[in-house]
Symmetry: D2
Subunit: 277 residues, 4 copies
C-alpha cells in the first residue's frame, strides 16, 4: 500500500548515517540550526536587491537568494537581468557579507555564475536536465537542487545521484510544491517529503513555501510547518514592494512581514530543539 | 495563477468571523487548545479498545476514535464489528469519560450510532454522499466531515454546506491526505489546506496524519507540522500492538510512541501560542 | 515501473474468460455491437425528456439516460425532479421502447427507482458507498457503476466486487474521466482504462466522453477514440437546447450534433470490427 | 468549471488557421496522412538498429526514431551510445531512406546531432529547458517537442512559443502521457490533448502510446484511439527482441506485432478520412 522510496547509493542515508552538512560562507546547512535563505525571485535593479539584502540580513536570514537567469514559462515574461543581475548580486554580497544562491540554467553560464554565487541553484524545470546535473557535479561549489514539479522522491534522489556521481556531494535538497488537482494554491507543498528524505538520504533538506503555495499570506504558516516537520532550512521570497515585482510578486513577503515570520519560525524551531541561523 | 477558493455562504468565514467552536462532552474544538482525537482505526475487541482508550487518555487525548462500521475498499477486508463495536465504544466512554467519534456509513444506522457516539464521522468515501450529508444535517450532534480523496477545497466546503443547510452547524473539518502521483506515502498530506480553510471558513479544522501518510514513523513529525500550520486538532491512530491490527496497522502508533508524540506536539502548540487539550 | 492491476476474484477475467454480456430490454452490452446510451444529464420536464428520447432513438442510441435524483456538489444546484423525474422517464420508455438508466443515490430509493429503471446507475461520488453497493448487489437488475473521480482501477474492480459478492453479476463499468492537474478539460478521460479493464475483468466497459471532457465540441472525437480503444459502449449527453440546460449544458450535444457524431462513431466501430446498435 | 487553454500568439491556431505542415525527407506531418515514427528507444548496435529500420519501413513507418543521447532517471542506466549511436542512425537512414528523429539533450551537441538527424527531438525532461528551446529555435530543422510529464497544455504551447520566437516554426507536438495517481500504467495517456491542441494551435500533433502506457500489449489499442481522436501521427517503439532491450523493453513491440498494429491503425485512419503513410 505504501512502498517507501528506494534510494540511490551515494545519496542514501546508509552512505553517511550522520548526515551531510553543507558549508558555505560561514553557514552550515544540515547542522543544528535552521538556515533561512531569503531574497527576491528576480534581481530587478541595484536599489531593489540591496534593500532586500539588508532587510533579510537584519531579520536573520543567512543566505541571499536572487534570480539573474530566470527560466520562464512564457518567452514574453521577464527573463532576468542575466550577467548584470549577477554583478548586482556580487555587490549585495560584498556589502552584506551574505553568501549568494542563484540559478544556473545552462552549463555554458557556469563559469560566469560561479564568479558571483556561493551556491548554484538547479531549478525545478531542470531537475532532469542530465547534462546540467553532470556539469554541476564536476564543480566544487554547493548545489541547491530543487524538486521537479512532478518528480517522485525516488526520481529526486536519483537526480542528486547524477550530481554526486560527478564528484560533488555538497547538495541541498528543496521541496517546493508538487502538481496536484487542487487549484487554490499554486502548487501543493508536500511536507511529508521532509521526513521521508531525512530518512532516506544524508543530504540536508530545505523547503520553499513561497513557490510551494504562491500566496504570501500563507507563507509564514507553512514555513513554521516545514520547520516542525524537520526542515533544515527555508527558501523565502521577500520584496520591498511585492505588488510591483517583475516576477511572482503574489508570493513575496514585505520586509515587515518577513521579520514577523522570522519570529514565528524561531519559536517553532526552538520547540523542535533547533535554533534559527 | 493561484485563484483562491470560493466559499459557501453558510460555511464561509464571513458568516461568522470569530469562528465556530464545536463543543462536545466538555471538549471545545476550535477554541484556544489543540484537541487530540486518538484511538484505533477499528474496534477489535473489548480489551483492545479499552486499553487504547486508557492509554490515549493518559497521554492527553480528549476524544476517543474507533471504527465500528468500516467502509473498506475490498469486500474481503474486516468490515468492523458494527453494533457490537458501538457497544464497546460506549463501554470505553463510560469508563474513561472520553467523548467518542465513530463513522456512520449509512443513514439507516444513524439512530444506532447516535446512541453511542458524541461526534458522527462522515468518511472520505462518503464526502459527496449527498443524502447522508442531508441526514446528518438534520441531527443535533457534531459531525466530523473528512475531506474526500480528491476533493478540491471548494468542493469540500460545499459538502459542509450540505450539512449546514440541513440545520446542523456543528461541523469539524479534517484534512487526511489527497491523491497524487507520489507513491512513497499512502496519500499526500495537504497541510496548506489548514491555513486556506481557516481563511475561508469559520469551521474548525483538524488533521489526520495517520491516514495522510500511512506510515507510523512519520506521524509525529507531520502532527507537529499540522499544529504549526494552525490546525485546531489532530486525529491519530494508536494500537496496543500495531503489527496485529485488523486494519491499517502500518500507520498506528504504539502507546509509548503516542505518549512521546504528545510531548512534541505540546511543545509546538506552545510555540504557536496554543496548548494541547 | 508499471505494475499491472490486481483483480478481484469474482470480477476478474479469469472467472469468466469469454466475458459477460449484460442484457436488458433487448440490448446486449458487452456483445459484438457498441451500444450508445444517450439522453440528458437531468430530466427537466416532459417535453424536454420526450424530445430527447425520440431524437437519440432516431439517431441510433439503444438506451435512454436521464437523471431524476442528482447528487450535486452544491446544495444550491438543481437536485433533479426526483420521483416526478422517474415518472417522466417511465413515460419516455413507454413511448420509445428504449430501456432506461438512471442514478440511485440512496438505498432507500431503490424500490422507487427500480419501478422505472432498467439499469441502476451508481455514480462516481458513490463508487465507494459500500452499503449502496451491497444493496444493488442484492437486486437482480443491471448496474452501471461509474469509476470514482480518483479511483485506481484496482479500487474500481473492488467496488464491482462488492456488488458481485451480493449476488448481482450484471455490471457495466464506465470510465468517466479522472482528476489530474490539467485544467483545460473538466476531467482527464483515461482511455487506457478500457484495454486495462478488458484485460483484467470480464465485465463490459463503456466510456462517458461528456463528463470525461466537459466540452461538447470535443465529445465526438473522444467518443470515436473510446470505440477505437475497445469500449463496449458510450454514455453521451444530449439536450434540445444545451445553453438552457439545468445541469452540465456545456457538455451536451444538440440533436443534430449527436446524429453527426453517431455517423462518425459507426465508421470507427466498423474499422475495429464492430457495429453500432 | 472547464476553462479552455490560452494559446501563445505565434503557436496559436489564429496565427495560421489552415494549419502547419512540417516537411522533412519527403514526409509531410500535419497533412492528410497519418505519419508513423517508429524505431527503438535507444540505438544499441548496428544489427539492432538496421534490422529495426528495415522492419518498420517494411510495415509502413515513414520516420525512424532512435535514441543516441538518452537522458536517464538514474545515472546507472544505459545513457545511449552518443556519437557512435548517431553514426549508426546515419547508416540506417542511408540504407532505408527513412528520415531520422533523435533527441538532443544539450545545446553543445546540436551540430553533431544535426549532422545525422532530420528532426530534433526535445524530450519531456527538457520541455522547459529554456536555453535549449531557444537554441533549437535558431536552427532550421524540424523539432519534435514532447510534452512534459506534468505540463499543462497552456505551458506546453508556451514551450513551443519559445522555439517559434527564435524563428523556427517547424514544430511537431507529441502527447506522451502525464503523471497521475493511477499506478497500473506508466503514465496516463491524455488523448483529449489531441483535439484540444488541434483547436488551439496550428502545429501538428502526434501521440506516443509506448511511453504513454509503458505496456506493449496496450500500444495497438491506444495507437488506434489516438488516430480516432485526430492525431497527425504516432511515435512507437519497436525492437527485434524486446526482452533484451537496454531501455524500456516492456513497451516495445516486436516486428510482427508492429506490422499487425499498422494494419489496425490503417483501418481506423480510413474510418476518420485519413490514410497511413
Amino acid at each position: 500500500m505504501s512502498p517507501e522510496i528506494v534510494t540511490a547509493p551515494l545519496a542514501s542515508r546508509e552512505a553517511r548515517p550522520a548526515g551531510t552538512v553543507v558549508r558555505t560562507g560561514g553557514v552550515d546547512v544540515g547542522g543544528p540550526a535552521v538556515v533561512v535563505f531569503a531574497g527576491s525571485c528576480a534581481v530587478e535593479d541595484e536599489e531593489q536587491i540591496l534593500s532586500a539584502a539588508r532587510a533579510v540580513k537584519a531579520a536573520g536570514a543567512r543566505v541571499l537568494r536572487g534570480g539573474a537567469y530566470k527560466p520562464r514559462t512564457s518567452p514574453y515574461s521577464f527573463p532576468g537581468l542575466k550577467e548584470a543581475g549577477l554583478n548586482l548580486l556580487a555587490r549585495a554580497r560584498a556589502e552584506t557579507g551574505l553568501p549568494v544562491v542563484t540559478e544556473v540554467m545552462d552549463a555554458r553560464h557556469l563559469e560566469q555564475v560561479m564568479a558571483c554565487a556561493d551556491i548554484l541553484q538547479v531549478g525545478s524545470r531542470n531537475m532532469q536536465n542530465v547534462t546540467l546535473l553532470e556539469e554541476v557535479g564536476r564543480c566544487r561549489v554547493p548545489v541547491l537542487l530543487k524538486r521537479g514539479m512532478s518528480a517522485t522522491l525516488a526520481e529526486y534522489l536519483l537526480a542528486a545521484e547524477h550530481v554526486m556521481k560527478g564528484g560533488n556531494g555538497q547538495i541541498i535538497l528543496c521541496e517546493r510544491g508538487i502538481r496536484t488537482f487542487e487549484p487554490s494554491t499554486r502548487n501543493t507543498l508536500d511536507l511529508s517529503a521532509v521526513p521521508m528524505l531525512n530518512r532516506h538520504t544524508h543530504l540536508p533538506v530545505i523547503v520553499d513555501p513561497s513557490h510551494g503555495t504562491g500566496l504570501a499570506w500563507m507563507v509564514p504558516s507553512m514555513a513554521c510547518a516545514a520547520v516542525a516537520a524537520g526542515a533544515d532550512g527555508l527558501l523565502m521570497e521577500v520584496h520591498g514592494q511585492p505588488s510591483g515585482a517583475l516576477s511572482d510578486g503574489g508570493q513575496a513577503l514585505t520586509f515587515e512581514e518577513f521579520a514577523g515570520a522570522m519570529a514565528q519560525i524561531a519559536a517553532v524551531a526552538s520547540a523542535v530543539g533547533r535554533s534559527v541561523s
